[in-house]
Symmetry: C2
Subunit: 138 residues, 2 copies
């Protein structure tokens, strides 16, 4: 098999395994993937408009409105008016939402520590470099 094909399938396998892990973690806590993903985006980026959030999540604003309603009811997210554009609404994490974000991010960190435990310093450095380069190419 060509190197590039092997790399391709390793990437797909890595993606699948991450996906299964996330799925299991999320279901165990009785959240949905969509909900946690929303929390993750807001937690890492900060408050943003509905439209921007919908674009980042890859869903329509119609779908997002419903999702945000639920997360607002659950106390994780708050809506507030946009300062300069009265059509827009900013959504942001509440304290409770931020707590949930940190909790979830810690799980990710623990996973990252586990799966990179067998990499030496150089390998870890190059891996970081490769990921940065690849993330820039999307």
């Amino acid at each position: 098999m060509k190197d590039i094909e092997q790399l391709n399938h390793s990437i797909i396998e890595f993606y699948d395994k991450l996906s299964s892990w996330e799925h299991a973690v999320v279901r165990e806590k009785n959240f949905s993937l969509a909900q946690i993903h929303t929390i993750e985006v807001l937690g890492s980026h900060g408050a943003m408009r509905m439209k921007e959030l919908a674009d980042r999540l890859g869903i329509t604003t119609g779908t997002l409105t419903v999702q945000i309603d639920k997360l607002v009811n659950a106390g994780f997210i708050a809506r507030r008016p946009h300062e300069s554009d009265r059509r827009s609404i900013l959504v942001d994490l509440t304290d409770s939402g931020r707590h949930l974000y940190r909790e979830h991010d810690d799980l990710h960190l623990a996973l990252t520590q586990d799966i990179t435990a067998n990499l030496n310093k150089d390998e870890r450095r190059i891996l970081q470099l490769c990921l940065s380069k690849m993330n820039n190419e999307f």
Copy 2:
């Protein structure tokens, strides 16, 4: 920021970007993520029982039954009896399903080529090594 945290967030970003890419590719062809994922698993692994496939996909067999019904109707998958266990059913790709699998896999390959274009030979080698090691640790 600690190295491990940076690595963690780069992995999450990579995962998110792959996820968006897959989502866009799949919707463009009017399939669902679930359907293509099923095709991918069968394509890379070969025929398997419903239970095993459901486990790999992270869904219940009830959900899978419905999915497979649709894919059988669409001509991508065929059911056949298990040789030694009459409770079991083997699902496998048809020729049309294999064609779809290769087509999708080629898209993945093209993406992999794109995002690794800026990596030199050594970086690519170490990336492959890291992915293999990480995939083994899940």
